[in-house]
Amino acid sequence: MEAKRELLDLLLSDARQSTDDIARQLGVDAATVEALVDELESEGAIRGYQAVVDWDSVGEEHVRAEVELNVELDRETGYEEIARRIAKFPEVSSLRLISGSYDFAVDVEGESMHDVSNFVSEQIAPIPEVTQTVTHFVMTTYKERGVYFGDGDDDDRLSISP
């Protein structure tokens, strides 16, 4: 596999590992890794680095909802423009145009259910193109960005074997 592509895999599995450790796994030197990371960032392939947080373990209220949005387009307004308007809200953590029975899937985060539903009814629903919203509150998160939140499987292999 090409080093740059493989670097992407390594960062996807653990973006916090040291440049030296990445270099060792790729069989290149640290300066090459730095250069490849710069390239990936400037090309826009890597848009950011974030922690995967299990909010249940943080000990503060954190509510998340997945909101289905239906919109009606007109001659002047397309998906792009509606998306731009919705994406600017800090409460919106992700926004995707999807296929199927509704148009946008929006993740909304807030400190309480009240916050979240207020936000949807006061900021999203009034947008003229929005014809319908359906809000699903997240009850439990089991897995996030590839990280399973349950206990890992025990390694039941013998500690030493031939």
């Binding site: 653990d14 590992q17 060792r24 796994q25 292999r157 500690s159 030493i160």
Partner: protein, 388 residues
């Protein structure tokens, strides 16, 4: 047994020492917080498709014996599978499905070795070859491979050890414990020696799918070798199916037939559930194997570079999931090093001498563990090396 009491045990059983890893296993078992680099099996689970095929076969109640040689559809797929190594074997006559490649090795020894026969066993190598020779009534002749050759077996190694008088030669590449592989050119020398001295070659190729720099070459594909070679392979390492116990032997009909006769009386047939898993593994799991291989490759590069940075000379092992670094300067005795390391830093690895004299001063390090464990283990080894 006190002096003079007659032991109920056979001479062979009495004279077979327990495996050298036993002591380290016991040390490791009584400690908490161990990071182990001593594991000889993948840390992955078998690909889901293979597990699912096993479950499905159980649900359908497929729990009876199979044909002695293994299910015919499995043998046909094995025949098809090994063509990727340019090997061509007839499913009905030249393929035997066994309970792990280990059983196949044992069967071959018993089918080929008469009392007084000599089997040349290159070392360092997997710990079972010598004992299976003994159990078959033969004599194992150790042939030391050398660190300066990166543990590749050479014509000179064979000559020096007196293997010209042997009847059979064991070959194990990609190698456990060194991770060494052999190229076509290197195998050509060994094949020449085998032909010149009329040796049968038992080629354990269980790690064939785990090569990182080049393609696996089987000695059986070299001129004049097919008729004198038995190839062993299986599902344990490539498909992470160690506990399913399924392997196979490929060889001339006469030898496979003799092995099957012994198998018929001792094992009857290889585990049925595992055979169903294996059929599916061969049919649809190439991608899963490739993913595991790529993951192993990253770890391999990581550990080799870490050991060399620590001053523990580590040649570039290109196969299996082991590297074989030297003890750091100041440590001659691999066993003393491994014991001090596990006691002080809770890192388990296997001293090289366990795999034969040629392994003295080296350590077998398995990278069949996740990156975070490998990093932790290497950090602990670093702090051990710095403070000793």
């Amino acid at each position: 047994m006190t002096e003079g009491t007659h032991s109920p045990l056979s001479k062979r059983a009495r004279e077979t020492p327990p495996s050298g890893i036993r002591r380290f296993f016991e040390l490791a078992e009584e400690m908490d917080d161990i990071v182990s680099l001593g594991v000889g099996e993948p840390d992955f689970s078998a690909p889901w498709a293979a597990r699912s095929a096993a479950i499905d076969s159980l649900e359908r109640g497929r729990t009876s014996y199979t044909a002695n040689r293994g299910r015919k559809d499995l043998r046909e797929r094995i025949a098809e599978h090994v063509t990727r190594y340019d090997l061509s074997y007839e499913p009905d006559e030249e393929i035997l499905v066994t309970a792990g490649a280990s059983e196949a090795v044992d069967l071959a020894m018993r089918a080929l070795v008469d009392p007084g026969d000599t089997v040349a066993v290159p070392q360092p190598s997997y710990i079972s070859y010598g004992p299976t020779v003994t159990f078959a009534g033969g004599e194992a002749l150790p042939v030391q491979t050398r660190a300066e050759n990166d543990f590749v077996l050479t014509y000179e190694d064979l000559e020096r050890a007196g293997a010209a008088d042997a009847d059979t030669l064991v070959l194990c590449y990609p190698n456990n414990p060194t991770g060494a592989v052999m190229t076509r050119e290197e195998l050509t020398e060994v094949a020449e020696f085998a032909r010149e001295h009329d040796l049968v070659v038992l080629s354990d190729e269980i790690y064939a799918a785990l090569r990182y720099e080049d393609e696996h070459v089987s000695i059986a594909t070299l001129p004049g070798m097919r008729e004198r070679t038995v190839v062993f392979n299986g599902f344990s390492k490539a498909y992470a199916m160690t506990g399913m116990r399924l392997g196979y032997a490929l060889g001339p009909a006469e030898i496979i037939d003799a092995m099957n006769r012994i198998h018929q009386y001792t094992m009857l047939s290889a585990p049925t559930t595992a055979q169903f898993a294996a059929i599916e593994a061969l049919e649809s799991c190439d991608d899963a194997v490739e993913e595991m291989r790529q993951e192993f490759d990253r770890r391999r590069k990581f550990v080799i570079s870490r050991f060399n940075e620590l001053g523990m000379d580590c040649f570039e092992a290109k196969g299996a999931f082991y590297v074989f670094p030297k003890c750091p300067p100041g440590w001659e005795d691999d066993e003393a090093f491994a014991e001090a390391l596990i006691r002080e830093k809770r890192v388990a690895l296997v001293p090289g001498r366990v795999f034969g004299e040629g392994g003295n001063g080296h350590l077998r390090v398995s990278y069949a563990s996740g990156m975070s464990e490998l990093k932790e283990a290497l950090n602990r080894i670093e702090s051990f090396v710095e403070s000793n």
